[in-house]
Symmetry: C3
Subunit: 158 residues, 3 copies
């Protein structure tokens, strides 16, 4: 049976949100050859509420890890909209960029970023293992706690 | 008539600056296949003055948006130098990275980043619509207020 | 005689470290076509000690530049593991991202980032000249002072 990204996320106990429209003058994704670049997605729940804060100050590492998972669900919503939504349409998760609003003395970025990385490997299996850069930033759009962007490679012709 | 990037920017009421030389040991752009990676360009006016500051502290969102436009003009100066300068040589603006020196409580990053995004769509039309990641950072080279980097795809053979 | 990345680094008076395993759920590199994306590598010395701190506060620009070189050595360790280790296997250093934990008033990011850039041109010569984006961030994983990620292009068939 054809497995979809939405279906796989459902099996994991989550729900694929509707893809959001950018609040500004850009688009959620651009394809170039077999590469698909997804715009930065913030930790906003589907009803519109933003998971905000600063890790190390008013947000714990655990909350930030959950925010990273929420941002990654928004990434996958855009990816599903950019493709036909099948898991098999994705050849590889190439790269994740994980941006965490954090204090100067916060140091658990890797653990936080796993909130996004774990979702990728849970959805795509072996093809979900990716390169990654995680950094702590001063602030994010709409005071979000986490923002994630990504590069995917589409599967080649069979 | 052949339209150039410099001419199109002139029609918009701006001026394409001369491409700056990196102040350090790297180059302004690298092409790989049909992709052109442009190095981060800061909000420096052609005469050398840097638009500096921190959004949310000594710089307003409006000033930061103007700084983003200036950084994007510097990006296009590099792009024009990397190509033959024709608008039609560019197949697509693939991705913008917008880095805004900002306080922890700043939240208008999307509005600021539109200073760069609006220029891309004004110059390239439909092919100017791009993916984007905007974040607030602690500080930027030479105390710049905004830095922008970009990935462009060259037009394919006709 | 075949020149290796490890050998070239030895000639420069440094030592190629063993590639570290990610501390989290991702992989050190992913290849897509001829592009190789290397995950962010922090300024950790091979024995495990992290060069930490914040540039402009408890770390000088000189220390940060040295940290950038150490992070870049870790990048090259991953690149050597991702390829057959020959210098000639690398067609081009396409892009470096340099992330410096820094205060809001730090401004010597370009000088710091040269710690990574200089190593690339020393190892790869002309093919080491790269595009680059350097920014000052709030904090980095494990309180590292510098993190560097990279995109390399493999050499084409002879």
């Amino acid at each position: 049976m054809m497995q979809t990204i939405a279906g796989r996320i459902g099996e994991l106990g989550f729900r694929l949100p509707a893809p959001s429209s950018p609040a500004a003058n850009y688009v959620p994704w651009v394809a170039s050859g077999r590469l698909v670049f997804i715009s930065g997605q913030i930790s906003r729940i589907e009803d519109g509420e933003v998971i905000g804060g600063i890790a190390g100050s008013d947000a714990s590492a655990e909350t930030a890890k959950e925010a990273a998972r929420i941002a990654a669900l928004n990434l996958l919503a855009q990816l599903a909209a950019a493709t036909d939504g099948r898991v098999a349409a994705i050849g590889r998760v190439v790269r994740l960029g994980v941006f965490i609003a954090a204090t100067p003395d916060f140091r658990r970025h890797s653990e936080v970023a796993n909130g996004a990385s774990d979702l990728m490997t849970a959805v795509f299996g072996e093809r979900g293992s990716h390169s990654r850069t995680a950094i702590g930033v001063a602030s994010l759009p709409a005071s979000a706690l986490v923002e994630v962007d990504a590069l995917f490679e589409l599967a080649g012709p069979a």
